[in-house]
Amino acid sequence: MVYVLTHGSFQLVDTPIKGEVLGQKFDLTDQQARSLIGRGAALLPEEQFNGIGFTAEEIAKYPNARRQADAPASFHAKHEAALTAAREHRAQFLAALAEENK
């Protein structure tokens, strides 16, 4: 499944998978998604991320927290929505895992 990074950075040790910038895409196996999302990586399924409505220009211009600090309010609103969606997705993801492990 393809996930998109919404915030922060991460690394999947022993693999080339390394997330550093907003909008970066990753095709993750279930176990990789579990390892990253379970630990708090702010990843969102691609479809959901696309629904947030970031423009290509915004993604290129505000790749990380340092750059995002100077972004306009319109970007922050979308970014906040993406982060909230990633948190909600993580909660659902963990709930599904817990159900699976019952």
């Binding site: 176990q31 990789q32 390892s35 702010a42 600090a69 982060l83």
Partner: protein
């Protein structure tokens, strides 16, 4: 063929949660190394894990002045140490770092929205494992029921670090696993426990990147330090959790239920000596023991900001010393205290 050597750089340290100090989370009698909360710890050298049963000396007169062999005593001499572990924020606001369990063990509870506050009623145990990555024939260690007794955070160094140490319930070594006690005998092995030495997690995920430890803001009694009139040269925050295992329970050789005694939190801070009003204020209040709040905020980028808030700090009277071209004013260990009898707010740490 020559022996496989160990290198300090191939070691991987793993933190993992426990529901109870004497239970290893297991699936099918194997440690659940992919469970939520199992985390690679990005740490440098110096981790030490040790479980050495005490030795009961033989008290019997043997007709000789020579020592006779003793017998193994209680398994109460189990310790762990993690020095200078970089505190790496995860890069996402209001979210705990990878080393979450180390902070939970200090504060006694999970964080709320990335903020750790003290709790009186619980001692949080965790698993600390040393795996020699990809070299299973070397000694691997698996410390169960680690509880924190002492900790310190070093501020204004190149990288902000947390050092902590404490006691463990027991430590499994890969060479000796076959000889360890079963659950029925107080161990964590066999029915209801694990049946094989734990295996290193594969491809663990880590969040965030190293941050400089000297960028940020500090306030003392509501006055912010600055680099012109009120320069802070060094600081640390340290504490004792008061946590300790009961080591004299009848019926077991292992430690029993951990308990929590008085906790202590203190800070040390050193300034370049100036005539700044903010520094003079600290000197005056150190003599009168007037309590004040102190805040250290390390980092300035959202998602990578660590804020340590201390309340009721009663500064020690400073000492002045020459240090190359400057004179420094050092306030040694100064205790923080709760703001009211119903509060446990002498320290809080927030990741924002």
């Amino acid at each position: 063929m020559s022996a496989q050597f160990a290198s300090p750089f191939v070691e991987r340290l793993i933190l993992a949660p426990q529901a109870a100090f004497n239970l290893i989370p297991e699936t099918g009698n194997l440690w659940s190394n992919i469970a939520t909360g199992v985390q690679l710890l990005r740490a440098g050298s110096g981790c030490k894990i040790k479980a050495d049963p005490t030795l009961i000396p033989n008290p019997v007169k043997a007709g000789t002045r020579s020592m006779q062999p003793g017998i193994p005593g209680r398994r109460s001499n189990n310790t762990w140490t993690l020095p200078s572990v970089p505190i790496i924020p995860c890069g996402v606001t209001l979210t705990v770092p990878d080393m979450d369990l180390l902070f939970q063990a200090i504060f006694g509870q999970v964080a709320t929205a990335g903020a750790y506050t003290l709790a009186d009623g619980a001692v949080v145990p965790f698993i600390l494992a040393r795996f020699q990555h990809g070299q299973p024939t070397l000694s691997q260690q698996f410390a169960v029921g680690c509880i924190t007794t002492d900790w310190s955070i070093n501020i204004n160094s190149d990288i902000i670090t947390l050092s902590s140490n404490g006691q463990c319930y027991w430590v499994y070594d890969s060479e000796n696993f076959a000889n360890e006690d079963t659950v029925a005998n107080g161990g964590c092995k066999g029915t209801g426990g694990i049946t094989a030495f734990p295996v290193e997690p594969t491809s663990p995920g880590v969040l965030g990147t190293l941050q400089q430890g000297f960028k940020g803001v500090a306030t003392f009694d509501a006055n912010s330090v600055d680099s012109v009139t009120f320069p802070l040269i060094s600081a640390d925050v340290k504490g004792k959790t008061g946590n300790s295992y009961t080591n004299d329970a009848f019926g077991t050789t292992y430690p029993a239920l951990p308990a929590g005694g008085r906790r202590m939190v203190s800070t040390r801070c050193t300034f370049q000596e100036t005539d700044a009003a903010a520094l003079s204020n600290l000197k005056v209040k150190a003599k009168t023991k007037t309590a004040m709040n102190v805040t250290y905020q390390i980092g300035t980028t959202a998602g990578s900001i660590i804020t340590i808030s201390l309340k009721g700090v009663q500064l020690a009277v400073p000492e002045y010393s020459d240090e190359a071209a400057r004179v420094v004013t050092a306030f040694s260990d100064s205790d923080a205290s709760a703001s009211t009898v119903s509060a446990t707010d002498e320290i809080a740490i927030a990741f924002t």
